[in-house]
C-alpha cells in the first residue's frame, strides 16, 4: 500500500539500525520512553526491539487511552448502559475493560444494548436512526480523539439531536508527563513524542521537557521506520549535547498543531479540576468535561451514575507499568492471573497497553548482544 509500505522497508530499517549503533557512547545504557500506546503497539508488532542494541532500552509510557480509565468510570459507563432503552456505544477496546464487578461485554450478555463503533459519528448516526432510544457515547482518548468527539457534539447540537449524549473521559497528555518527570524513581534519557496528539496540539506543549527537565523529545510517526529514526534523532541530540523538541513526523504534524481542532476543543470542552487516572491517582487539570454550552449532551447529567471511586485491585501494578517503573513481566500477576482473556488490569486489555502488547507479541525469550 502506498505511503505505508515505504515506511516498513526492512533494508532502510537495517540502515537506520546501523546509524543508531554508530551514535552510541560505548558502555552507556540509554532509556527512551515512548509516550504513546500506539508506539508501544508498533514496537512490538514489528519487532523493532530486535533492531536495537541491548543498551538502548524502550520504556513504555502512559499514553494508552484505555489503560488510564479507572474502574469507577467503567462502573459509571455500565450503570448508564443498563438503563432501559439506552443504546450504549464505545470503541471496541473498552468492552473488555474490567469494572469493579463486570465488563461492558458482561453487561451486554445480560441484555444491555452495547454496540461497538469506530467513530463517535457512527454513534450519532445510531441516534438519528433510533429517535425513540437514548444513545450514549463513552468517549475516551487523548487530544487525538477529543476533536472527533467535539465535532460530533457540535453536529448533534446543530441538528438538534436530543437523544444523544456523551460520557466524557477525554484526558490530556502533558499533566501525566510532568508527573512522571517529577517522580524520583525513573531515570529517562529522552522521549518519543506522541505523533497523533501533536497533530492536534503541535510541538509547543512539549517544550517544557527540554527547557525544565533537560530531556530531548522527538515527535514520531507510527510506522517502524518512523520510530527507529526518532530513536536515532534522540540519541544524536544526546551525543551532540542538544536538548530540544524535534519533529520526525513532519509529513503529518505542523509545529503549531491544528488550530481549527484546538478551537473546536476549546468551544466544546473545559478542563476538569481533577480526574482520576488508573494507577496514577488524581491529577489536577488533566481531563476534559463538556463545557456549559454543551451540558445538555453530558450523559453524567442526564443519567444517574454511581460516580464512586473504586480502588485498583491490590495485585494489579498497572500504575507502575504506566509510569515505566516496571516492565510488564515484572508485575506479580502478569500472564498468570492477569491475561488478555481474563484481565485484572487495563494495560492487559487494550492492544496499545504495554502488558497486552508484550503478552501478545513479545512473550518469548530473545537473545541479544550488548554493544
Amino acid at each position: 500500500m502506498r505511503f505505508v509500505d515505504e515506511f516498513r522497508d526492512a533494508q532502510l530499517g537495517r540502515a537506520v539500525g546501523g546509524e543508531i549503533l554508530s551514535t552510541l557512547e560505548p558502555g552507556r545504557h540509554y532509556k527512551v520512553m515512548e509516550v504513546c500506546g500506539g508506539h508501544t503497539h508498533s514496537i512490538y508488532k514489528y519487532g523493532i526491539d530486535d533492531l536495537l542494541p541491548e543498551n538502548v532500552e524502550l520504556v513504555h509510557g502512559p499514553g494508552c487511552p484505555v489503560c488510564v480509565i479507572p474502574m469507577g468510570r467503567v462502573d459509571d459507563g455500565i450503570a448508564v448502559a443498563l438503563n432501559d432503552g439506552v443504546i450504549f456505544t464505545c470503541f471496541g477496546d473498552m468492552l473488555r475493560v474490567p469494572g469493579s464487578e463486570q465488563t461492558l461485554l458482561d453487561a451486554k450478555a445480560q441484555g444491555a444494548d452495547v454496540r461497538m463503533v469506530y467513530s463517535p459519528l457512527d454513534a450519532l448516526r445510531i441516534a438519528r436512526t433510533n429517535p425513540e432510544r437514548e444513545v450514549v457515547f463513552f468517549a475516551i482518548g487523548f487530544e487525538t480523539t477529543a476533536p472527533s468527539t467535539a465535532l460530533t457534539l457540535k453536529r448533534a447540537k446543530a441538528e438538534g439531536v436530543r437523544n444523544f449524549s456523551c460520557v466524557c473521559n477525554h484526558v490530556t497528555i502533558v499533566p501525566p508527563l510532568r508527573a512522571l518527570l517529577e517522580s524520583p524513581d525513573l531515570r529517562l534519557d529522552g522521549f518519543i513524542g506522541p505523533g497523533h496528539v501533536c497533530t492536534v496540539v503541535g510541538a509547543r506543549p512539549f517544550e517544557f521537557i527540554p527547557a525544565d527537565y533537560q530531556r530531548p523529545v522527538v515527535i514520531s510517526g507510527f510506522e517502524p521506520l518512523d520510530i527507529l529514526q526518532s530513536i536515532h534523532m534522540i540519541l544524536r541530540q544526546l551525543k551532540e549535547g542538544r536538548r530540544e523538541v524535534e519533529n520526525q513526523y513532519t509529513r503529518v504534524v505542523p509545529r503549531e498543531g491544528n488550530l481549527r481542532a484546538l478551537q473546536v476543543l476549546a468551544e466544546v470542552f473545559e478542563l476538569r479540576p481533577h480526574f482520576e487516572w488508573r494507577g496514577l491517582g488524581f491529577i489536577s487539570q488533566s481531563a476534559l468535561k463538556l463545557s456549559d454550552a454543551y451540558r445538555d449532551f453530558d450523559a453524567e447529567e442526564r443519567f444517574a451514575v454511581p460516580g464512586v471511586r473504586v480502588a485498583d485491585p491490590k495485585a494489579c501494578q498497572c500504575g507502575e507499568v504506566l509510569k515505566g517503573v516496571i516492565k510488564p513481566w515484572e508485575c506479580k500477576v502478569f500472564g498468570t492471573a492477569c491475561t488478555p482473556e481474563h484481565a485484572i488490569g487495563t494495560c492487559m486489555v487494550s492492544p496499545e497497553g504495554a502488558c497486552a502488547a508484550y503478552y501478545n507479541y513479545g512473550r518469548y525469550a530473545r537473545d541479544k548482544e550488548a554493544v
Binding site: 500500500m1 537495517r14 500472564g335
Partner: protein, 363 residues
C-alpha cells in the same frame, strides 16, 4: 538472578500455565466464546470434551475438523457445522453456499472425500419466501459443485425475534482417502507451511457488506469447496502431507496456534511471504485488524514434509482458485507450542491465539 534470567523464568511459568487444559470458569456465555479464539477453546476443551470423552479417549479428543468411525474396515469421517452469518447474502456467496462448503471442507481437512450431507434449517417467522428460495437454490448448487448428495434434513420455525432470518446446520459424511495420514499432532521440525491463497477475504467481505464502516471496496468472499485442493495435495505428497486445516474463524493465526500446541513444535511465519490482496491489506490497515486473524471460508493451511513441499505447492497452484498458494513458513522445534512471525521489517514477534472478537457471526 539477572533481569534476563528473571524474565525467562516468568515466561516459563506463563507457558506452563498456558499449556494446561483450560477450564470453563465463565459466569455466562459471551460473544467471545463464539469467536474461534481462546474463549472458544475454553468452551470446547474445558466443558464439552470432558463431558463427552471417557477416560479411554476417543475420536473427539483429537479435536480434528471431523471425527472418524470405522465400519467393517472402511473409515468414515463425520462432521457437523451451524451457520448464523449476518447478512444472509454477501458479495461472493450466501449462508446456503457457506453451509455446504463449510461442512464438506471440514471433511476434506480430515482427508475424507465428502459423500453426503443432511441440512437442517431454523427459520424466523416472517422470513421472505424469495430469500428462503434463494438459499435453498444456493444449497442445491453448492452441493452439486462439491459433488455431495443431500440425503436428509429438518425444518423448524421460531417466532419473530427468536432467530435472525435463518440459521442452517449441515452434517456431512465422507470416506477417508487411503493416501491420507493427517493429524494435528503430526507436525515435525522442518515441515513447510503452505496456504492455498490470499488470506482474510471472507471476513473482510462480510465486514464491508455490513456497511458499518463507510468503506466501499470490490471484494468477494473466498467461499469454495476444498476437496479438489486436498486431492491434489494428497496426490503430490501422500503421507508426507502431515496436516490440513481450513482457516475459518480465528484465521490462519488460530489454526497455526492449534497445530503448534498439538504437535509440541514451533511455527515460524515469514510475514512478507503471506499472500494478502491489496483490498484486504488496506481494509485491515484502516480498521486495525491483522488479516492473519480474519476468517476464510475457502483457504486451507497445509503442513508438508520438506522433501515434498515443492511438489505439493506446485500441485496446489494447479487447482482453480489456488493459483496464489504460497509457502509462508516452517516448523521448528523451539519454542514448543508457540507461533512466531518474522516481520517484513526484520523483527520477530509472537503470533498468539485470538482473544477478543473483532466481528461476531462471520459464518
Amino acid at each position: 538472578m539477572s533481569a534476563v534470567g528473571r524474565e525467562e523464568r516468568v515466561l516459563q511459568i506463563i507457558e506452563t500455565a498456558r499449556s494446561k487444559t483450560p477450564r470453563f470458569r465463565d459466569q455466562q456465555v459471551t460473544l467471545a466464546h463464539g469467536a474461534g479464539g481462546k474463549a472458544t477453546r475454553t468452551l470446547i476443551e474445558g466443558l464439552l470434551v470432558p463431558a463427552f470423552v471417557g477416560p479411554e479417549g476417543g475420536s473427539l479428543a483429537k479435536l480434528a475438523d471431523a471425527g472418524t468411525v470405522a465400519i467393517d474396515g472402511t473409515t468414515l469421517a463425520m462432521t457437523t457445522d451451524s451457520f448464523v452469518v449476518k447478512p444472509l447474502r454477501f458479495p461472493g456467496g450466501s449462508i446456503g453456499e457457506l453451509a455446504v462448503n463449510g461442512t464438506v471442507n471440514d471433511l476434506a481437512m480430515a482427508g475424507a472425500r465428502p459423500l453426503a450431507l443432511t441440512v437442517s434449517v431454523i427459520l424466523e417467522e416472517g422470513l421472505g419466501a424469495a430469500e428462503l428460495k434463494a438459499e435453498v437454490e444456493a444449497i442445491a448448487r453448492a452441493a452439486t459443485a462439491a459433488a455431495v448428495e443431500i440425503i436428509g434434513g429438518d425444518t423448524k420455525v421460531v417466532e419473530r425475534g427468536a432467530a435472525d432470518g435463518m440459521y442452517i446446520c449441515t452434517t456431512g459424511i465422507g470416506v477417508i482417502d487411503p493416501r491420507a495420514q493427517l493429524a494435528p499432532d503430526r507436525l515435525a521440525p522442518g515441515d513447510t507451511i503452505l496456504v492455498s491463497g490470499p488470506v482474510g477475504e471472507h471476513g473482510t467481505a462480510i465486514m464491508l457488506a455490513r456497511n458499518e464502516f463507510d468503506l466501499d471496496a470490490e471484494l468477494e468472499s473466498d467461499t469454495r469447496p476444498l476437496w479438489a485442493a486436498t486431492d491434489a495435495l494428497l496426490a503430490a505428497a501422500g503421507s508426507d502431507l502431515h496436516c490440513l486445516r481450513d482457516a475459518t474463524r480465528g484465521g490462519v493465526a488460530s489454526v497455526l496456534n492449534e497445530l503448534a500446541r498439538a504437535s509440541r513444535v514451533s511455527v515460524v511465519v515469514r510475514e512478507a511471504d503471506v499472500p494478502v490482496s491489496p483490498v484486504v491489506h488496506a481494509a485491515a490497515e484502516l480498521l486495525g485488524i491483522d488479516p492473519m486473524y480474519v476468517a476464510n471460508e475457502g483457504r486451507l493451511v497445509a503442513c508438508v514434509a520438506p522433501g515434498a513441499a515443492e511438489d505439493a505447492l506446485a500441485a496446489l497452484r494447479g487447482v482453480p482458485g489456488c493459483e496464489e498458494a504460497a509457502a509462508v513458513g516452517e516448523v521448528r522445534a523451539e519454542p514448543p507450542g508457540m507461533v512466531l512471525v518474522e516481520t517484513s521489517f526484520g523483527g520477530k514477534r509472537v503470533m498468539d491465539e485470538l482473544v477478543g472478537d473483532p466481528l461476531p457471526r462471520i459464518c
